[in-house]
C-alpha cells in the first residue's frame, strides 16, 4: 500500500544516520545552514512524498523544514503576493514548468548550482531553473474489471473509437491547464493532422469531465468509468492499493516537467541551498521513484511495469495568450 511504502521509506531514512554530510556539500554550507536553523518550501508536490523527504532532511541535517502545499497556480499566487509586498516567506519553490518559468520571468528566483546536478542528464538541466527533477507523464489508464479483455484500449488513438462513447473520463480541457497543454502538444507524437482528427473524434465520444487528473484516475480506479486520461503513475499508485487498473503502453508519452529552485529573496539562503542539495540527491530521488514518480536522476526508475520503455516528450509551454486561444478552441470542439 502506498502509505505503508511511505512509512517504510521514512523508517529507512531514520535508520540511515543522523548528521552525515550531504552529498558533495561543503561543511561550510551545512554549518551556515544550521545557523539559519530552518527552511520553508512552497510547492505542488504531493504531501506524502514531501513529508518523507522533509523527514529525511531533518534527520540528516538537524535543520527544521516546513512545507506549504497548494496547486501550482496557488503556489505562484501566494509566493508572488508575498514577494511584491516585500515579505517573502518561502526559501524554495517546487512546482511545474509553466508556473516556474512565469515566476522566473518576474525575477522570483536566484541561480543555484547544486553539486548534485552532475547526476542528472545534461539535457534535463535548465540554465535558470536547474535540473528537471521529475516528469509527470499523461496517458490512458483503464479498469480491467470494467472492460472485457478484448475491449482494453491498445493505444491513445483507440479512444476515438465509437465503442468508447460515454466511457471516458478526463479533466475539463477548457479549465485544467495541464490538460490544455497536453492536447495542444499531441501533434508532437501524432502529427498535426492526426492530432486534430483525434481531438474531434474524442469530443464526439462525449468524455465525462472532472476537475483535474487525479479525480480522473479515481473515477477509473473505483470502476465508475472504465477509461481515464490521467497521469500514468496512478496506474501504479492505485494498483498498489488493489485497484484493477493498468495503463496503455505507448513508445512516447507527453508530460510536464517539475523543478525545485531557490527564491531570490529567500530568508534562509544557505538552508535553502542545503535543502535543494538533499532534494536532488540520490536518497530523496529513490524515495520519490518508489512512490511512483518518474524522476530524471540517472539510473532511477519507478516500479511501474514498462517504465523503462516510455519515451518522454515534454509538453509545449503556452503563454497566457496561447492558453486563452486554446481554451476557446477546445470549448468549440468539445462543447459544440
Amino acid at each position: 500500500m502506498l502509505s505503508k511504502t511511505a512509512l517504510f521509506l521514512s523508517l529507512i531514512v531514520n535508520l540511515c544516520g543522523a548528521t552525515s554530510a550531504l552529498y558533495g556539500q561543503s561543511a561550510a554550507l551545512l554549518e551556515a545552514a544550521k545557523k539559519e536553523g530552518k527552511v520553508t518550501v512552497y510547492g505542488s508536490l504531493e504531501s506524502d512524498t514531501m513529508d518523507v523527504i522533509m523527514q529525511g532532511f531533518r534527520k540528516k541535517t538537524g535543520i527544521e523544514a516546513k512545507y506549504w502545499r497548494a496547486s501550482a497556480t496557488k503556489v505562484m499566487d501566494r509566493a508572488m503576493s508575498e514577494f511584491r509586498a516585500g515579505k517573502p516567506l518561502a526559501d524554495g519553490i517546487v512546482a511545474a514548468d509553466n508556473v516556474m518559468r512565469l515566476m522566473q520571468q518576474q525575477g522570483f528566483f536566484q541561480k543555484y548550482e547544486s553539486p548534485t546536478n552532475s547526476d542528472f542528464p545534461k539535457d534535463v538541466i535548465d540554465p535558470n531553473l536547474g535540473p528537471r527533477y521529475r516528469n509527470v507523464v499523461v496517458g490512458v489508464v483503464y479498469n480491467k474489471s470494467a472492460l472485457k479483455p478484448a475491449e482494453f484500449p491498445k493505444s491513445l488513438e483507440d479512444l476515438a473509437k465509437p465503442q468508447y462513447k460515454g466511457k471516458i473520463v478526463m479533466p475539463d480541457p477548457t479549465q485544467h491547464t495541464t490538460t490544455t497543454q497536453w492536447l495542444a502538444s499531441l501533434y508532437k507524437i501524432m502529427g498535426k493532422e492526426k492530432s486534430e482528427k483525434f481531438m474531434r473524434d474524442l469530443a464526439a465520444n462525449k468524455p465525462v469531465w472532472v476537475e483535474s487528473l487525479l479525480p480522473s484516475a479515481e473515477r477509473v480506479a473505483s470502476g465508475e468509468f472504465p477509461i481515464a486520461i490521467t497521469y500514468v503513475k496512478y496506474a501504479y499508485i492505485h494498483g498498489q492499493k488493489g485497484a484493477p487498473v493498468d495503463y496503455v503502453r505507448e513508445p512516447k508519452l507527453i508530460g510536464d516537467a517539475s523543478y525545485i529552485t531557490l527564491a531570490s529573496k529567500a530568508p534562509h539562503v544557505k538552508a535553502g541551498n542545503a535543502f535543494i542539495d538533499y532534494f536532488l540527491d540520490d536518497e530523496s530521488m529513490k524515495m520519490m521513484s518508489k512512490l511512483g514518480e518518474f524522476v530524471n536522476r540517472k539510473g532511477v526508475l519507478p516500479p511501474l511495469p514498462g517504465a523503462d520503455k516510455i519515451g518522454f516528450v515534454e509538453m509545449d509551454d503556452l503563454s497566457t495568450k496561447d492558453f486563452a486561444e486554446k481554451k476557446k478552441e477546445y470549448t468549440q470542439i468539445f462543447l459544440r
Binding site: 496547486s71 497556480t73 501566494r78 503576493s81 511584491r84 516567506l89 479549465q175 476537475e211
Partner: protein
C-alpha cells in the same frame, strides 16, 4: 477719559449650538458608544479587504505592481452574454436548493421542537451534523450513491426491481439542487429551530381555545410568526448556494452544467495565470446580488413588533399532541436524517476502511484496513491541525457571536441613524466568492503594520470577517421576537444598557446566540477556501489539511479525519444545545 473697552461676545450661530447639543446627546447614551465601537470594528473588518478587491477590479495589474485604472475587467466580465445565461442557471440552482433546504429544515424543526414525536432530541442533535462535514465530502458521498454507472443506491434498485439501469442520475440540475439543499439544511434548521424555541405559545393557545385545529394553528399562527426566520434562512442559503463552488465542481462539471461560480473559476481563478482582477470584477456582481437580498430581507422583516412573541411572562414552547401521527412524524424525520446524515456518514465510513474506494464485493471485506485511522492517530501534523482548528472554532465563534449580538441589537432595536449600514457592511465580504475574498484578505494583511500575517491570528480575523453574517442572521431572527417591554422594564428599574443587555436580552436571545455559535463552530472546524491563502506551515488548521489530502487522492484519510471532526463537533454541539434550552433554567 477713554471709553472702557467693550468686549463683544459673538454668539455662536443657532445651528452649531443645535448640532453640539445633538452630538452631546448622542454621545451621552452608552448605546451610542457601542454603536461607534462595533460599527468601527465591522467597518474595518469589512472594508479593508474589500477595498483591495475593488481596487483590484479597477486595475490591470496584480496588487503590489503599479497598474493603470481600467474598466476592462468589468467589460470582459459583463459583456459576455454567457455570463447572463449562467447567472440564470445560478439563480435556478440557488432558488431550488435554498427552497428545498428550507422545506427540509421547517419539517425537521417543527417535528423536533413543536411536537411530541419520539426521539426528537436525537433529531435535533443529528440535524446539524451535515454542517460539520466538509461540503466536498457530502458531494462525493452522494456521487458514490447516485452516479448512473455504479452508484450504490442505483445498484440496489437494479437488483431489487430488476431494472436495466438505475433510476437516479446525480449528474443533473436536479441532482445538483438536491445535494446542495442537503448541505444547506442544517443552517436553515438552526435558524428556524431557534425561532420556534423562542415563541411564546399564548397566541397558539388562544387560537386553539377559539376552536382551531393543530394544523390550522400551525398554518395560520406558527408559520407566519416565524416568517422572518424562514426568510432569513432562505436568503442566507440562496446567497450561499449562488456563491458555492464545491458542489458544482464535483457534480455540475461531469453533467456539463455550468453555473456562475464555475465560470468564474474557469475564466479567472482557475485560469493560467490566475486573473484576480477579473475574479474581483465578477465578485462585485455577486456582491450586488447579495446586497439586494439583504435589502429585501430588511423590507420583509421591517414590521418588528408584529413578530414579537417573547414577552416578560414565563413560558414553555407549545408542544402539539399528534396522537398516533407522532410515529409518522418520527418516521418522516428519520427519513430526512437518513438522507442528511446516515447515508453520507455510512459512505464516509466505508471509504475510511477501504484501501481505495470501489463498490464493495465479497472480496472487499477481506481487504479492509484501519491504516487511515492509524494515520490520524499517529501523525503529529494531524494533531496540531486539530488543536489549531479547535482554537479557531471556539475563540472565533465566541468573538463572532459577541460582535453579532451587539450588531444585531443596534440594527433591530435602536433608531440610530446609519444602523442599517452595519448590516450591509457585514454582508460585503461574505458576498464575494470565497477564494476571491481570501485573496483580498491576503493582500490586505500581508503588509499590515501589526504582524498578524503568517500567524493563526490572520486566520481568526479572516473567519470573523467572512462568517459574521451567519451569526448576525441567527441572532437577529431571535431578537426580533423579543418584545421591548422586557428592556423597558429593566431600564425603569434602573439598569444601564450593559446590564440590560447582559441580564435581560442575552438570556432571551440565547437560542439564537447558541444557534449562531454552533453554526460558526462547525464551519470554522473545517473551513478551507479562505484559510488556504492565509495559513502558514506552523499554523495549519484542518481545512487545508483535508483539502490537500483530497488533492493527493487520499480519500481514506480525508474520510477518517472527517469522521473524527464530526465526533468532536457533535460533542461541542451537544454541550452548546444544552445551554440553548429554555427548560434548563
Amino acid at each position: 477719559m477713554s471709553t472702557p473697552e467693550t468686549t463683544l461676545t459673538v454668539q455662536p450661530p443657532l445651528t452649531s449650538v443645535w448640532r453640539r447639543s445633538r452630538i452631546g446627546a448622542f454621545l451621552s447614551q452608552p448605546v451610542s458608544w457601542v454603536f461607534l465601537v462595533v460599527g468601527s470594528i465591522i467597518a474595518f473588518l469589512s472594508l479593508y479587504p474589500t477595498y483591495f478587491l475593488f481596487y483590484g477590479s479597477l486595475t490591470d495589474a496584480p496588487l503590489g505592481v503599479p497598474g493603470k485604472f481600467t474598466l476592462d475587467n468589468y467589460v470582459k466580465a459583463y459583456s459576455d452574454s454567457e455570463a447572463y445565461s449562467l447567472m440564470l442557471n445560478s439563480f435556478i440552482f440557488g432558488i431550488g436548493s435554498s427552497g428545498l433546504s428550507v422545506v427540509f429544515a421547517l419539517a425537521l424543526a417543527w417535528i423536533t421542537i413543536r411536537t411530541d414525536a419520539p426521539f426528537r432530541r436525537l433529531f435535533e442533535l443529528t440535524a446539524i451534523i451535515p454542517n460539520i462535514l466538509p461540503p466536498i465530502l457530502v458531494s462525493i458521498s452522494w456521487v458514490m450513491l447516485l452516479n448512473p454507472s455504479n452508484g450504490l443506491i442505483n445498484g440496489l434498485f437494479v437488483k431489487l426491481f430488476g431494472l436495466e439501469k438505475g433510476p437516479f442520475n446525480i449528474y443533473s440540475m436536479a441532482g445538483l439542487i438536491y445535494v446542495e439543499a442537503l448541505i444547506l439544511t442544517p443552517l436553515a434548521f438552526l435558524i428556524v429551530a431557534a425561532a420556534l424555541k423562542s415563541m411564546d405559545p399564548s397566541l397558539e393557545e388562544s387560537a386553539k381555545t377559539l376552536g382551531s385545529g393543530e394544523f390550522s394553528v400551525m398554518r395560520r399562527i406558527t408559520f407566519p410568526l416565524i416568517r422572518p426566520a424562514i426568510l432569513a434562512a432562505g436568503t442566507l442559503n440562496f446567497v450561499r448556494a449562488v456563491e458555492s463552488f464545491d458542489t458544482p465542481a464535483i457534480i455540475a462539471l461531469p453533467a456539463r452544467i455550468e453555473v456562475f461560480t464555475t465560470k468564474i473559476w474557469r475564466e479567472a481563478l482557475g485560469s493560467f495565470p490566475t486573473n484576480h482582477n477579473l475574479a474581483a470584477a465578477y465578485g462585485v456582481g455577486i456582491l450586488a446580488v447579495a446586497l439586494v437580498f439583504v435589502y429585501l430581507y430588511r423590507r420583509f422583516t421591517s414590521r418588528v413588533e408584529s413578530f414579537s412573541t417573547v414577552t416578560g411572562k414565563g413560558f414553555r414552547p407549545h408542544q402539539i399532541d399528534l396522537g398516533l401521527w407522532r410515529y409518522a412524524a418520527s418516521g418522516a424525520a428519520f427519513f430526512l436524517l437518513i438522507l442528511l446524515v446516515v447515508l453520507p456518514i455510512l459512505v464516509l465510513s466505508l471509504v475510511a476502511i477501504l484501501p481505495y474506494y470501489h463498490v464493495p464485493t465479497w472480496q472487499t471485506w477481506q481487504n479492509l484496513t484501519i491504516s487511515h485511522f492509524q494515520y490520524v492517530w499517529a501523525t503529529p501534523r494531524v494533531h496540531k491541525a486539530f488543536m489549531n482548528s479547535l482554537f479557531l472554532a471556539l475563540v472565533g465563534a465566541t468573538a463572532c457571536m459577541i460582535l453579532a449580538s451587539l450588531a444585531s441589537y443596534i440594527t433591530v432595536r435602536t433608531k440610530i441613524a446609519g444602523r442599517g449600514i452595519i448590516e450591509g457592511l457585514v454582508f460585503i465580504p461574505w458576498a464575494f466568492p470565497g477564494t476571491a475574498m481570501a485573496l483580498g484578505l491576503l493582500w490586505a494583511y500581508v503588509d499590515f503594520p501589526i504582524p498578524v500575517y503568517a500567524t493563526i491570528w490572520i486566520i481568526l480575523i479572516a473567519y470573523v470577517t467572512r462568517f459574521l453574517p451567519y451569526g448576525l442572521r441567527a441572532v437577529t431572527s431571535t431578537i426580533i421576537q423579543v418584545h421591548k417591554e422586557l428592556e423597558e422594564a429593566s431600564i425603569v428599574c434602573g439598569a444601564g444598557f450593559m446590564a440590560t443587555f447582559r441580564r435581560v436580552l442575552i438570556p432571551m436571545m440565547r437560542p439564537g446566540v447558541m444557534a449562531g455559535w454552533i453554526i460558526l463552530v462547525t464551519i470554522f472546524m473545517r473551513e478551507f477556501s479562505a484559510t488556504l491563502f492565509l495559513y502558514s506551515p506552523g499554523a495549519e488548521p484542518l481545512g487545508p489539511l483535508l483539502y490537500f489530502l483530497y488533492l493527493d487522492g487520499m480519500r481514506g484519510r480525508v474520510a477518517a479525519i472527517g469522521l473524527v471532526i464530526s465526533l468532536i463537533s457533535v460533542i461541542l454541539i451537544a454541550i452548546a444545545q444544552r445551554y440553548s434550552r429554555w427548560d434548563t433554567k
